[in-house]
Structures are given as C-alpha cells and as structure tokens.
C-alpha cells in the first residue's frame, strides 16, 4: 500500500504573529517556520503504518515556495521515503492546492492520503475535503484513530460532542486531529539520511494545472483589544449583572 502525505510550511506555533503596520499581511520576516503541527501528525501516522507493515511506501508532497523543501526534508527525516515539491508562490489558496494535489494523486495512485485537518496560519480547514471532492474519494476528517482492514479504513472522527466512526472505501482521504498520535522527534542520523532521499520538484505547468484567484485579501488587522469593563462592589451585584445585563447565567 502506498500512502501520500501532504505537508505545509507555516510559522512555528511558538512564535507570536505580528500584523504589519501597513495592514497588508502578518510579518513573517526572519521568523521561525516549521512543519504545520497537524501535518506532522499526518506524517507520523503514515510512518507508523509503514512500521506496522501496512504501508510499503510513504510519499510526502508540499505546495509552496522553494523554502518548503525544508519541511519536506523534515518529513523525510521523520520516516517518509520520497518527497515531491510543487513550486508556487507563497501561500496559494486551498482550492488551488487541492487541484495540484489531485494531479499528484492521479499520478501516484496512493491507497491512502493523509493531510492535516488545518494549517495553523490560514486556519482554513479545507484542503483535504476539497481534494476528496475533486477526486471523488471518501473522506474521514478530524481523525483521532485509524484502523485499516481489507480495502477499507475505519476512521474515528472528533466531532462536536463526541466521536463518530465511519468506514471509508480505499482509496480514501483522512485529515488528522490532534489526538491521533504524538509525533516523534527526528534523530540526527535520520536528518542526515533525509538529505539524500529523493525529492522531485514540479511546477503547476508540469502538472497541467492552471490556478485561479478566487479571493482577494483586502487587509489584515490585529484583533480588537479587549477593554476593561466595570467594577462591581459585591457578589450580589455580580450575579445581578450576569443574569440581567450579560444574560450569560
């Protein structure tokens, strides 16, 4: 079985983002970038499938600028076998990413595709679902457990208020949630080995995909600062306010 994993280069989750003073976007100059945490979980799950003997090959693919080869290498250091980088401008829209990935899937013919449920920069939560739609494949989003049986994968999904399990016919697309696994650390020898693993670079033109602009980013602003409210003098007054003014109890 072949597993395809998608990975995205995003700002490191420890780094506080700052909106540029001209409100054109957030400032990413010289900030630490990293593998999107949900993608890291996706890589880990694929590698575990390989270690368990269920998967024979794990291919990682990333769409974006040249710099995202660094994240492909990280995924290779975590245990993926081979990388594909589709070189585009900085952060293409989810639908365009899905179209590019769909071509890769058509070409690679994986049995299982694992993506992160969302990227922590755009917080879109779309690419996996869109990819499934374009390929007309079943989807198991927000997965907290995967079980492979003959020709199907059972995915336990984190849904509002509990868990739901669905059975998907392979090939299928799974998007990862936080509790699916705890990713390993890349070891030094594996980081060195990863430098020698194959990494293929393609362009949208190579894949025959014409990307389109669907949205325009008008501006990016910092969130409104919270203003202090009023001081109450007693518990009675507090309860009163919560009941009748704020109506939250």
């Amino acid at each position: 079985m072949k597993v395809l994993v998608t990975v995205k280069r995003v700002i490191d989750y420890n780094v506080k983002v700052r909106v540029k003073s001209d409100h054109s976007d957030v400032d990413l100059g010289n900030v630490k970038m990293a593998l999107n945490p949900f993608c890291e979980i996706a890589v880990e799950e694929a590698v575990r499938l390989k270690e368990a003997g269920s998967a024979a090959e794990v291919v990682v693919v990333s769409v974006g600028r040249k710099a995202c080869q660094e994240q492909v290498r990280t995924a290779l250091a975590l245990g993926a076998d081979r990388g594909i980088h589709i070189e585009t401008e900085a952060s293409p829209e989810s639908l365009n990413v899905a179209k590019l990935l769909a071509k890769v899937v058509e070409h690679e013919q994986p049995d299982l595709i694992i993506t992160g449920k969302q990227a922590i920069d755009s917080d879109n939560n779309q690419t996996g679902q869109m990819l499934a739609a374009l390929l007309n494949l079943p989807q198991g989003t927000f997965a907290s457990e995967l079980k492979l049986t003959d020709g199907t994968v059972n995915v336990t999904r984190e849904v509002d208020g509990g868990l739901q399990t669905v059975a998907l016919k392979l090939p299928a697309i799974v998007t990862t949630d936080l509790r699916l696994n705890e990713p390993r650390y890349a070891s030094l020898p594996n980081i060195m080995k990863a430098k020698r693993k194959p990494l293929e670079v393609k362009t949208p033109a190579d894949l025959g995909v014409e990307t389109k602009t669907h949205t325009k980013l008008v501006k990016v602003t910092p969130p409104a600062e919270r203003q202090g409210g009023i001081t109450v003098s007693s518990v009675d007054e507090l309860v009163e306010k919560l009941k009748y003014d704020a109506k939250v109890i």
Binding site: N14, S21, G29, V31, K32, L188
Partner: protein
Amino acid sequence: MRESMEFDVVIVGAGPAGLSTACRLMQQANDAGQELSVCVVEKGSEVGAHILSGAVVEPRALNELFPDWKEMGAPLKTEVTEDRIYLLKDDQKSSKIPNFLVPKTMHNHGNYIASVGNLCRWLAEQAEQLGVEVFPGFPASYIIYGDDGQVAGIGTGDMGLDEEGNQKDTYMPGMDLLAKYTVFTEGCRGHLGKELIAKYQLNAGKDAQHYGIGIKELWDIDPAKHEPGLVLHGTGWPLSFKESEGGASGGFFLYHAEDNQVVVGLITDLNYDNPHLSPFDEFQRMKHHPLIADTLTGGKRVSYGARAITKGGYNALPKMSMPGALLLGCDAGTLNFSKIKGTHTAMKSGMVAAETLFEVLKISNEGGQNLTAYGDNFKDSWVYEELYTSRNFGPALHKYGTVIGSALNYIDQNIVSLPFTIHDNYPDYNQLKSANAYSPIDYQKPDGVLSFDKPSSVFLSNTNHEESQPCHLQLSDYSIPLGKNLIMFDEPAQRYCPAGVYEVIEGEKGSKQFQINSQNCLHCKTCDIKDPTQNITWVTPEGGGGPNYPNM
C-alpha cells in the same frame, strides 16, 4: 545504548564564532580538494533563534571570510551614518559628549547596524552550501573525554524525558558525536565551556572573568522619527554610579536600523553590589528618559530578549586550546568591551581556529592533539592586538567608576597607552552586599506604553520549553534560596533574572516557597553568573527549547 557518529570537527553553537569556523574550514578543504566532515550543533530551534546582540557590526572579519558578502546578500544593510554619545545626568537631563572627547573605539564609521541573528542565519546558509552539516534543535549537553583525558566529542541531549527523568512515549536518546577536534563556541558563559575552563585550568593566572547582562527590545517607530544609520550610546542614569546607591555601571544603546525599526537596550555590569537592583526594571525606567522616550513614543514594541555578555577582555581571556578542543568567541571571552563589540572578534577567533585546525588535519588523521599553535596564531592576528590595547577599559570602569574610568580610558585609547595594566580580580558573584546595606529600589509600575512588566516582555521573546522535562536550572543545594539567599540578599534571582523565572512565593500562613518557572527561561545565563553562592547551574534543556528571536 547511545548511538554515535564520527566527524573530523564538531562545533558546538551556531553563533558568529562557530559558523565562521565552519565556513573557513570548509573553504580550505574545498580549495584543497580534501574531504572534511564538519558539523555544527545548535540548541536553538533554528540558527539565530537564540542569538541576541546589539548590534553595530564591524565588517572586518566578514570582509576576510566572504570578500564579496555584499553581492552575496549578507544582511548588513544599514551603514552607520552618525555616532552620538550621551551622559544621562538624571531622569530628565542628558548631555552629549563632544565628538573630540569620544574614545576612538566608539567611532563607528564603516560599521553596520544589523541583526547578528540574521547574520548567523545567513552564515549558516553559506556553511551548508560549503558542505557543513548544521543541526539546529540539538544542544550539546555533555563533553565526551577520551582515554588520555582529551576532548573526544560531545553528546546531544535526550529528548522525551519527563520531570523526573523517566522516558515518555516520545523518548529519543541523544547521540554521541565523536570528533578529532571539538570546537566550543557557545557564546557567553557556555555551560560546557565553563566545565572545560575548570577541568583544564584554562584561566590559571588570569583575572576573574566579568559579565554584563544586556536587555534589548526591538521597536517599530514613527517613520518621521526614524534616522537609519544613527547610533546612540550613553551611560549614567538610571544605573547609579554613586557609592551610596551601590556601584552599578553599564550603558545603553539605541540604533536606528532598517524598516522604521530601532533597537534599544541596556547593559548592566553584573558586578553590581546592591541586591535590590533589577536590571530589567532599570531598563524599563530608562526608556522614560526624554532622550529615548522621544524616539519610542508613538511606536510599538515588537520583540524582547536578554543575554549576558562576556566583558573581561584581554586580562581575563583564558587559554583557548586544550587536548582535542578549542574554546572560542564569547565562550572564551574575545569581546572587545571598549567597543562593546564581539561579533567581529568572535568570527576572527573562529577563522584563525579553522586555519590552525586545517593545518593539522591536512597532515595528520589523528585527533586529540593539544593545538597550542592556536595561541601563537591568535597572537599574530588583529583580534589579539585589539584586545590587548583595550585591556584596561573594563577594569578601569569597575575600579574607578564610570567618570574617572572613562577619562582614563580616553587617555589610554586616544593619547598615550598607559604603561600599566589595571586588574580587577573580584568575580561578579561575590560582589553583593547584604540586603540591609541598601534600601529597596522603588521602581515605578510600568505604564504599558514605554515600559512593561516581565510576563508581557517574555511573551515577545517567543520562548517556550516542552512542558514536561527535567528542570534545566539545577540547584546544587535546595536549601540555599530560602535558607541563605532570601535572608541575606532578599533572593536576588527574583530581580536579576530578566524573565521572571525565579520567584519566592508566599503560601498559606506566611510559608515561603522558591519556584523555578524554567519554561520562561531566555538562556541569558545571568543566574549561572550572579547567584551569590554559585548554586545555580544552567544546563541545556530539551533541544529546540528557549527563545525564538526573529531579527535580534
């Protein structure tokens, strides 16, 4: 079982010194067509993440290392256009020192305002292109010694241990990186460097090393006030230099960098004797001085960080070679304090090391020799010359106070060289007087506009450490913080730590507890330097932990 890998040279720390060593080594190997395996380990999550500097950078070493660095895109973009030096007389008044009285070491013509972190990011790219393996996120946590007592490499830290040191699910053992030669370039107060200095008595016959703590912020300012290339330095208020208020010295800097940003910082010498002093609060109140406030008002703070600085200079510079290893850059103490610049000297110390190493590796495959030739090569270089001529600077300030000390320095550096060397042999940690000797300093509450509290400052350093891991701030004796330091010095760690890591908290019924919030640590090393009983040892936390400084 720990796995191991072998290299010709292992370099600890991807700062200016380590990366210059790596680049120069590989340049020579590539020129000679010789295979050489060089790796650099770095504790920060990426190269540059733990680098905090001013900085006005003198390009002398870079010119030698990459003569066409400009075309290659090195991030030295803002040339210094003007130097101004001030004496802050009190919280309102200041006077500009006339140019002719300024020591020539403080002239910055031809230098660049730059982020040393970004310079290191760039140097790391060059190193990788030359064939160096750079491993960020991997701290060297201990030294491996060979059978003959030589340094034989380092071990990287284990990952995935819990508070008690038990293995978690994600446990991954560290690795032994064995090397013919190991180069230690951990920067100021490297924790392995400290071990080497003690083990090989590298500082025998030298003066005690001295340190300062630099606290720095990056600000976006009103474009109308921005004068790219302008460099301000000064001393005086708020650090008291009257004997009655305790002897704290130091100086501030304010540089106008690119993109409407300025950096502002205060270096407080760590030989201060008033335990109530808080370098963090001194810095915060300093920003209210009109000279600085005028520039910052209307701006927004972008980043915060702190780092100790090694300032003992020539008199305290230890021997830099030992069997199988070299100790370079600020890890040894090559900073020129009369210029407050250590980047170019650190780089040069690394380049000389690379040349010395390559000479040896060219002819002998055996490692582990004592590279005493380094001492001579270093002596022949311009770094030595620079450090020697400014050897009296720090001690004069320490001994005679900022004013007379500056005067002596002025004479020494501009008119005639003093025919003698001033020594200052009291280590910083045993300078504190008892808490009763001074009354507590009344620092104003931060206003949230120019001055801030510690938590919101630490927030901007992007520091983080994996929640569950052994504490990387080790106490030799758990009873000292409350049993001794609290009583005698009102536990100064509460104040000298720029990240609020150490707290004495009052429990119920007045009971006290000493708490270490190690997650906040900025890796500045001040606690390791200043704790009055040397009870705190900073060791490397899990790889990747610590600040994530952009552009610092």
